[in-house]
Amino acid sequence: MSPSSSGPAGAGPAILVQGLTKSFGDVHALRGIDLSVPRGTVLGVLGPNGAGKTTAVRILTTLLRPDGGRAEVEGHDVVREPAAVRRSIGLSGQSAAIQEELTGRENLEIIGRLYHLSWPTARSRAADLLKQFDLVDAADRPAKNFSGGMQRRLDLAASLVGQPQVLFLDEPTTGLDPRSRLGMWDIIRSLVAAGTTTLLTTQYLDEADELADEIVVIDRGLVIASGTAEELKGRVGGDVVEFTVPDRRRVADAVAAIAQVGNGEPHVDTETGVVSLGVGGGGSDALIQAVRGLDGAGVETRGLALRRPSLDDVFLALTGHAAEDEEPQSRRRGGRRKARNDTAKGES
């Protein structure tokens, strides 16, 4: 999709990060992370709010200087050769960075001009992207009349005007409704299929699972695990028995009733009353034992089931806390608005 760089980019990875550190005062946003993203692949950077995801993206896109370590994009050092890095990247951030008073078409044409395309080229590039992102009907309306999903699509289109070799998507679906989210996933998949190297941050585990070839889990500024979605799921150690206890006073009884079943401590979400238990390869035997135990204790449960581990379970196993936990001590500086979690997780 994109021409190869004129710089020293060659056989190495598209993104290379070694020992990257960044602090804001007492807040250590990054405490030495390593990443390597081969060309044409998608890296999912997974972590809760404040884990350091956005700080890493801001360093890699030359918006922020690291305190220590090394970061290269397409073989160009982000500190020493920021201009070369900027020529190879596209960035789509957490909010729609578009001029709402202007039309979709005008937004893209102006970005094209700022990439030093001629007017005719900027126009045809805008028209192509509007078509590709299903925005043709709305193209000549002010972007402020767009839905949230359309604005994010326009923002993503804007990040592709320069035909980047490497695309950075910082929480591309945060704040979107579930349907727009699925639409966004389709678009990202098609970009990836076209061969654009992509670094995608997300706090949605299913999103990383869907889109990424390789996933790194970061928490409190450190990479705590990496691998494919399947490898990470393997870390939990097999299947999970999960059920809900509607009567919260009986949760303790339920935990006691299944104490002999699993190969570890059950995890209890006290807010929702959801109890989950890793059962290794035990599968259906474990499920039957759990049913007997709970029945014997007279605990009423709902939605008792055996399932494959999700990345939620991985996160829990790796960090001891759920992925959605807020980490107030490591929030980014500037107090920028953080979009709410949407409904796609944790419900139903």
Partner: protein, 270 residues
């Protein structure tokens, strides 16, 4: 504004200089398009100053006596024009704070465009917008009896001085918008400091009618220097040299201090 172009590698310095100019023009064009799309901006920059002209000309004007034989409308218009230029800069801070918050500035900074262009394009567009506003207010002034009484060249000089004055305050506004970075706070803070410096000047009433302690401030602040110079250019027969020198010195000081501050705030913003 120096060409702090983003391109370090391939393009030569000539290409970079050319891009700094074309990028600035692109951003200018974008900003002017936005301005024309938002009715509130037009109201703010055109209707409000016209209201001020009518208010002072017909409501307060009758109660204000100015020394000499100068009609009040002639005394008033240079003051209104300076105030119009100063208030027009409010939009500079708001626009930059909005772009910062929405991530527009992040996007532009991550692109291989001239880094100076965002700020330069903002200042150029806002100065153009201000000039339009000034000319409209001059036109309204003519409709209510104001006349330039010192010839065409000094009249143009007055408009130029008003525009340079507005541009200087634009730099302050750009700095506050980028440094504060939060639209609501900018909105709250934006005009607060401009009210005292414009009203506690020779803009609307002769300073000699103010209490002594206030005269001490009003007589020795930059806005009075600028307005007295503008008045002398528009009307003639008024002392000009000292005020012109003081105006130039004050405006130069504002540029020297606030332009680098605004550039630094832009670099750090995000």
């Amino acid at each position: 504004m120096t060409a702090v172009a983003a391109q370090g590698g391939a393009p030569g310095s000539l290409a970079r200089a050319r891009w700094a100019v074309t990028d600035t023009l692109t951003i200018t064009r974008r900003n002017l398009l936005v301005w024309m799309r938002v009715p509130a901006y037009i109201v703010f920059t055109v209707i409000q100053p016209v209201m001020f002209v009518l208010l002072f000309r017909y409501v307060f004007g009758g109660a204000i006596k100015v020394p000499g034989r100068i009609p009040y409308v002639d005394f008033l218009m240079p003051g209104i024009i300076a105030q119009t230029a100063a208030f027009a800069t409010f939009g500079t801070a708001i626009a930059l704070a909005q772009e910062l918050k929405k991530g527009v500035i992040d996007r532009l900074k991550s692109m291989p465009m001239a880094r100076s262009a965002v700020l330069a394009g903002r200042l150029v567009a806002d100065t153009g917008r201000m000039l339009v506003t000034i000319l409209i207010v001059v036109g309204v002034g003519y409709a209510v009896g104001f006349r330039f009484r010192n010839g065409a060249v000094p009249a143009v000089g007055m408009v130029v001085l008003a525009t340079v004055f507005g541009l200087a305050i634009c730099c302050i506004s750009a700095y506050t918008g980028l440094a504060i970075g939060d639209e609501e706070s900018v909105q709250a803070f934006g005009l607060i400091w401009l009210f005292p410096v414009t009203f506690l000047s020779s803009a609307f009433v002769p300073i000699s009618t103010m209490p002594g302690w206030l005269q001490a401030f009003a007589n020795n602040q930059p806005v009075t220097f600028v307005i007295d110079t503008m008045r002398a250019l528009a009307l003639g027969h008024l002392p000009i040299e000292a005020n012109l020198l003081k105006s130039v010195a004050c405006l130069a000081a504002v540029f020297i201090v606030f332009l680098p501050l605004a550039v630094r705030a832009y670099r750090r913003a995000g």
